[in-house]
């Protein structure tokens, strides 16, 4: 029983390492390396957020405080090392960020984790605002509007590692990411990690089996703060500049949103979320002015129809596949994808036309989108987009109902199967 589990664990972790090692060879462009580096940073941040959110049931609105302050401490540490002669190798600068995250979590967490639930959420929100306000008031530390910049280049690097070329920084980030992901996974397998789940499920009961719930939350908060700080430290090294927005509410909201999208109930969910976050912020934002609107829509739909995030969608389909029933859903998925695409085309054409009308009218009524020309002055174009949306939505709803029937039948069959197996045992 034990060997296959260990073997699949080995396979998963070595492919993860291999993937990160080989990725920059495939995406070797400047943009590719940038995106990959940011993904590593975001993965650590979202996973650390999920220690609170998914594993501990703590809805934090201020996680950027710990990533952000980690960034600031790391950039100051970097500057102290390069200019002031602090004996700190550049490769260890992210650890300075981690220690800062840990220290601030010890400090602020003592206040925040005394309460759970809504009160906890409110306190984190308040603390986030407080730190953001401070960042503008103390320019000596936060660098004011311009932020704090640094230089990660090492003059005579060991084995030619100067951290000048982005790809070298990428590999540093990749190593940190691998270690941090492994460490955070290991955390979920420890007594504290499990008691954190118990506190999430039923804090009252935890008090009656000998554990202090406040202490469990506080310790988990500190662990999360440490990893958040490392993520912030890596970001400081990567960008070589840290501005006040890194502690802002928008950043905190991003962690929450994408951790949720990826799926908070599975360990790997936030990794998917982090990858999406970087794709959205770096690529999607180039693609359309209305990207935040699309993002909001996606989030809304996810919360309504798939509250377990992408990870749970994957796991549910894997379960169906294990029982050999995934094939039956193939046609439905194809139908959903096709009708969804039609709906998306119509909807996004409308959105783009509205955006163009509101923001870019000075450029004239005609604009290009997805290789086609749209004229906001033409009634036909509006009507075409609207009917595309309506037809797509109608078809989508129709296939969705059929899909739900099939899905329900398959789930029932699987449940019956499990029950009958239990009875045999």
């Amino acid at each position: 029983m034990k060997t296959p589990i260990n073997r699949s664990r080995w396979i998963i972790w070595s492919s993860f390492a291999l993937l990160m090692g080989l990725a920059p060879l495939v995406f070797s462009s400047g943009l590719g390396i940038t995106v990959l580096s940011q993904m590593g940073i975001a993965i650590i941040a979202c996973l650390s957020y999920n220690i609170l959110f998914g594993q501990g049931g703590m809805l934090s609105f201020g996680h950027a405080v710990y990533t952000g302050l980690g960034s600031f401490m790391a950039i100051h540490a970097l500057n102290a090392a390069t200019e002031g002669g602090l004996p700190l190798p550049v490769a260890l600068v992210p650890l300075a960020g981690g220690l800062a995250g840990l220290g601030f979590a010890v400090l602020f967490g003592y206040v925040t984790t005394r309460k759970a639930g809504t009160t906890f959420a409110m306190i984190t929100l308040g603390l986030g605002e407080l730190v953001f306000a401070m960042s503008l008031m103390v320019p000596e530390f936060f660098g004011g509007e311009g932020g704090v910049s640094g230089n990660r280049m090492v003059r005579d690097g060991l084995w030619g590692i100067t951290f000048g070329p982005p790809v070298q920084v990428y590999y540093l980030i990749a190593i940190y990411t691998f270690i941090c992901v492994a460490a955070m996974y290991a955390f979920t397998l420890t007594p504290l990690g499990r008691m954190l789940n118990a506190v999430r499920d039923n804090p009252e009961r935890v008090e009656f089996i000998g554990y202090d719930t406040q202490r469990v939350r506080y310790l988990a908060f500190i662990v999360a703060g440490f990893f958040a700080g490392i993520s912030g430290g890596l970001a400081a090294l990567n960008f070589e500049i840290v501005t006040a927005e890194v502690v802002g509410a928008a950043r905190s909201g991003g962690y929450l949103l994408f951790t949720f999208l990826g799926g908070a109930t599975f360990f790997f969910g936030p990794i998917l979320g982090a990858i999406l976050m970087v794709l959205a912020f770096v690529l999607f934002s180039e693609f359309s002015q209305a990207w935040l609107l699309y993002l909001g829509l996606i989030f809304l739909l996810m919360v309504m129809f798939a509250p377990g995030g992408i990870a749970s969608l994957i796991m549910m389909n894997l379960r169906v596949a294990r029982y050999g029933r995934l094939r039956e859903l193939g046609l439905s998925y194809l139908g959903l994808a096709a009708s969804g695409l039609v709906m998306l085309l119509g909807g996004s054409a409308l959105v783009e036309m509205v955006y163009h009308l509101q923001l870019n009218q000075s450029e004239g009524p005609v604009f290009g989108y997805l290789g086609a020309e749209f004229d906001v002055g033409s009634v036909t174009h509006w009507a075409a987009a609207m009917s595309l949306l309506a037809v797509g939505a109608g078809l989508f709803e129709w296939t969705r109902r059929g899909f739900l029937r099939k899905w329900g039948a398959i789930q029932t069959a699987i449940e019956v199967d499990i029950k009958s197996r239990e009875a045999v045992l």
Partner: protein
């Protein structure tokens, strides 16, 4: 040796006094059934002993040590554990994880995050043993929320005894069960609490007489009688109180 001792215990909510001066001494190893009509304060009494509520005045001593005013987890660490009337388990954890959580503190693992659960042989063994004791070993990996009601009640007991406390409070362990289930469940409780000091709140008189060496009758926040089942059954004041309440129950049911 007195396992549990209550002295002049009182509790008021606002102006209403729910527990009105309870004195009770439970010897180590005794099995006490706490009975009384609805609203007599039985659950409140358990909440006071286990630290869920703070007494307004009076003392609670566990093995001679004062525990009133301590936090629930501190009381638990001193060797008192309780179950709940409304099932109180960890719904999104498996049966095995539920039980393992309940043994961790008593085995000294505290808040450690430098050891893997899988390597804690004593904790795993104890959790497996508990699982067999409450006859849920076949449901090892089932999430607690997917268990049947009776299984959840059994898990509730398993979590309660997991930490090895020697004073156990069970608050209506058979609440909501059918007669057949209740009978089996009482046997289970007897099995798993051998050698422990047990206090059980029960509604059903029949259940208590089968389970307890001594019975405490609580009526309107006071102990009306505390004696052997036979003596309690013969007690005129108890009969009066119970007769009154059964008439009231009948009236409620008749509406």
């Amino acid at each position: 040796m007195n396992a549990l001792e209550l002295k002049g215990l009182r509790k008021s909510f606002g102006k209403t006094e729910i527990i009105r001066g309870i004195d009770l001494v439970v010897q180590a190893g005794e099995r006490v059934g706490v009975i009384g009509p609805n609203g007599a304060g039985k659950s409140t009494l358990f909440n006071l002993i286990s630290g869920r509520l703070l007494p307004s005045s009076g003392e609670v001593r566990l093995n001679g040590k004062r525990i009133d005013g301590l936090k629930p987890y501190e009381i638990n660490r001193l060797g008192l554990s309780r179950s709940f009337q409304i099932t109180n388990i960890f719904p999104k954890l498996s049966v095995f994880e539920n039980l393992r959580c309940s043994v961790l503190w008593s085995l000294g693992y505290q808040y450690s995050c430098w050891r893997f659960l899988a390597n804690l042989d004593d904790a795993n063994q104890r959790a497996r043993q508990l699982m067999q004791m409450i006859h849920l070993d076949r449901k090892q990996d089932v999430l607690a929320m997917n268990l049947t009601y009776a299984e959840q009640r059994a898990l509730e007991i398993g979590i309660t005894i997991g930490g090895g406390a020697d004073v156990i409070l069970l608050d209506e362990p058979t609440a909501g069960m059918s007669r057949g289930e209740t009978a089996r469940f009482i046997d289970l409780i007897k099995e798993v609490t051998v050698g422990k000091t047990l206090l059980t709140v029960e509604h059903d008189m029949g259940v208590v007489f089968g389970l307890a060496d001594k019975i405490a009758v609580v009526v309107y926040g006071e102990v009306l009688a505390f004696d052997t089942p036979e003596a309690v059954r013969a007690n005129a004041r108890v009969q009066e109180a119970y007769l009154g309440s059964s008439i009231a129950d009948l009236q409620v049911a008749g509406h």
